[in-house]
């Protein structure tokens, strides 16, 4: 058995090389079909994302294309000279290829450590290969294990915990304060890029109402139109603040636009309801003392950035435990594949052995009873065949099941050896 992983990623190759080798849209199915036609008997999965292009090939050692053949395939398929990408290629074989796939699924190889998209992309690549009929035993098992390992790593190490961008940290903070957003009002003060980006993330929470206020009413109306909100004249800002549960402020004002005293009055008018203020302007738009008010949670851009940094370092701490899980799972998966291959060989040998006996005995019977007509011969051959199948059904099922359960230190299952000895089959 051989398993080969070959491809480029964001570390090994610059974007133009990745783009040139990408299997976008219909190219993916075409690529899989071409591989299946060129290398019959092998299994293939192509993982193509914006950060990586990888081909996973598996099968019997003599049938699986080697790295050279896959390089040629990439070159011909994309019409790119080999020299342009050959030195960017990462190649891993067998256990290392499994480990690589697991690391990819667990997002250890991602640009953003712990990002959630890659696991879905791995599953998607596998599904597409299944649809194209280029997956069999080895890659079925390996990719299903990769999906399981990716989930396990995230659950047990917290590698995906905490957001890394300011805008997504703001969403996390909002979720920490409020439960539902359909009855909440979001107010955006200013119409800067950062405000746009933050609102873009917060809009996913489906707020009930969006208000936009800006010194320039036209720009406010433009932004309000873009976000499906309502523009509020800047001189009515305090009234808008009274309505707002979540405030995103991004003006370029030199002085705070809302003083402590003003917000105390606002908060009194809104019956001290919970309020979240995301002051991402520099200099700040809200007096820092507003954050001391009991039910007001005031975050400035430094607070959000610091939280993103903390999340980043926490994710980093999850790398060692994640690596340990992957090492363990890789060994188990590799052993299971090896056992299955052994089981397959033993089962094939067993089938051949019994077939030979059946054939020999049938011919002996025909020689002893030359008067048997064709109908009788057929009936006897059919009976012998059914007898053989029924006799071997349970041992076959037991062997398959035993092979799929790896033993603690991954030695071949003792049943396989027992069957070989019992039936006098050749050693592998």
């Amino acid at each position: 058995m051989r398993l080969l992983a070959l491809g480029v990623d964001h570390r090994s190759a610059p974007a133009p090389v990745r783009e040139a080798l990408a299997f976008d849209g219909p190219k993916l199915a075409q690529g899989l079909d071409t591989l299946a036609e060129s290398f019959p008997g092998s299994e293939f999965v192509i993982l193509s994302t914006c950060n990586r292009v990888e081909i996973y090939a598996a099968g019997a050692a003599e049938e699986v294309p080697d790295a050279e053949a896959l390089r040629e395939f990439l070159s011909q398929f994309h019409q790119v000279p080999v020299e342009q990408f050959a030195h960017h290629l990462n190649i891993a074989q067998d256990e290392k290829a499994i480990a690589h796939l697991f690391r990819v699924a667990a997002s250890l190889e991602s640009l953003v450590l712990g990002e959630g998209q890659i696991l879905g992309q791995v599953k998607d690549a596998y599904q597409k290969a299944v649809q194209n009929g280029t997956v069999s035993t080895i890659l079925h098992q390996t990719f299903q294990a990769a999906a399981r390992v990716g989930k396990k790593v995230r659950e047990e190490t917290g590698l995906d915990q905490g957001k890394l961008s300011i805008a997504s940290v703001a969403v996390d903070v909002a979720k920490g304060v409020f439960d539902t957003f359909s009855d909440k009002t979001m107010l955006v003060i200013g119409a800067g890029k950062m405000g746009d980006l933050t609102l873009q993330h917060l809009k996913a929470l489906k707020p009930g109402r969006i208000l936009v206020s800006n010194r320039n009413l036209e720009r406010a109306e433009e932004a309000a139109h873009r976000w499906g909100g309502l523009a509020v004249p800047f001189d009515e800002l305090l009234l808008a603040l009274k309505e707002a549960d979540v405030v995103i402020s991004t003006t370029a004002a030199k002085e705070p636009i809302v003083t402590y005293e003003q917000y105390v009055r606002v908060q009194h008018a809104r019956s001290n309801r919970l309020a979240l203020i995301l002051d991402i302007a520099i200099p700040r738009d809200f007096d820092a003392r507003i954050g001391d008010l009991e039910d007001v949670y005031l975050y400035n851009v430094d607070d959000l950035r610091a939280q993103a940094e903390q999340n980043r370092s926490r994710r980093q701490k999850g790398v060692d435990p994640a690596t340990a899980i992957i090492e363990r799972e890789t060994a188990a998966c590799h052993a299971a594949l090896r056992h299955q291959r052994h089981a397959g060989i033993v089962l094939r040998q067993l089938g051949d052995h019994v077939d030979a006996i059946r054939q020999r005995e049938f011919e002996a019977l025909c020689a002893l009873r030359p008067g048997l007509d064709d109908a009788d011969r057929k009936a006897i051959a059919h009976m012998m065949s059914r007898f053989q199948n029924q006799l071997l059904h349970q041992p076959r099922a037991t062997l398959r099941s035993a092979a799929s359960e790896p033993t603690p230190d991954h030695p071949p299952h003792s049943l396989l050896n027992a069957v070989r000895h019992l039936f006098g089959l050749a050693d592998m």
Partner: protein
């Protein structure tokens, strides 16, 4: 069934708590299912224990302080189980619920084994049971309000200090905790009021029958219960006043819970002189054995 002891379900709740505490080191669905499974098992064992008690005594087991406390723990465990199962798997509701359940079970073993209403006349026994049931329901609501208040305070502190949630220690949003707390307080107040009023009427009836006070107005149980009612009245009032929201209300909830614990268990544990729950007034003012 007779081999079922308090230790059986308390131990199971303890294991559930250990599994919940393991969330700081072990993540994943298995640990979550284990916690929920153990809590459910503990609750089922406790149900069997209380059912056995009810069958043996031919009455609802709420007429003595010990029984009431166990029933309180039983109802609270069920509510807690629901909250734990309903919250997302990463949310640490169990860390607040399970110690409460264990605390309630443990405190039931600290209160004195007095006769309760059984030794009284049938009319008093009936109203005594109603009095007990109202206070029990009020106590359940207070027990729900307390962890909700605690979760609010912890979450509020984290947000005020601009800290990201600790791995494995996510909490419900402030709004969720506040909603739970508010609902529980709103239910608790009328129940406690009814329970206390029936208690007062029972005492007045007793005085009229015996010609002397059985339970003085200065009895620690009476004073503590009155103060608890007062705190609840303030809490309910606070809901309508914009000046008191959020953290202040949560702190007040904790004070109310402290009064509840003191009234229910503290007086017994501290061995304060009370005539509450006795068949006749104690000569020395100390409670009867």
């Amino acid at each position: 069934m007779d081999r079922l002891t308090v230790l059986c379900f308390a131990g199971t709740y303890g294991l559930a708590l250990a599994s919940e505490l393991a969330r700081f080191v072990v993540q994943g669905s298995v640990r979550w299912y284990l916690t929920i499974g153990l809590t459910a098992l503990g609750w089922l064992v406790q149900t069997a224990y209380l059912g056995n008690l009810a069958l043996a005594q031919h009455k609802i087991p709420v007429t003595s302080a010990v029984e009431s406390q166990l029933v309180l723990a039983w109802i609270f465990a069920l509510i807690g189980l629901y909250l734990m199962a309903r919250a997302p798997k990463g949310t640490a509701v169990g860390l607040f619920v399970l110690p409460m359940v264990l605390g309630l079970v443990a405190s039931s073993q600290l209160v004195s084994q007095r006769g309760g209403w059984d030794e009284w006349g049938s009319v008093t026994r009936f109203w005594g049971t109603i009095h007990g049931l109202f206070l029990l329901a009020g106590a359940v609501s207070t027990c729900v309000a307390f962890p909700a208040g605690l979760m609010y305070l912890v979450q509020s502190r984290r947000l005020k200090h601009k800290r990201p949630p600790r791995f494995g220690f996510a909490l419900p949003s402030l709004e969720q905790s506040e909603r739970l707390n508010r609902g529980a307080i709103t239910v608790a107040f009328p129940l406690l009021t009814c329970g206390l009023l029936i208690g007062v009427l029972l005492e007045l009836g007793r005085r009229a029958r015996l010609g002397h006070p059985g339970l003085g107005w200065s009895d620690p149980k009476v004073v503590s219960a009155s103060l608890m009612w007062l705190v609840f009245a303030v809490l309910l009032n606070a809901r309508l006043r914009p000046s008191m929201r959020g953290r202040s209300v949560m702190v007040l909830t904790i004070v109310a819970f402290a009064f509840l614990v003191f009234t229910w268990v503290g007086i017994d544990v501290l061995d304060l002189p009370t005539a509450h729950g006795t068949a006749a007034p104690a000569e020395s003012g100390r409670k009867l054995p």
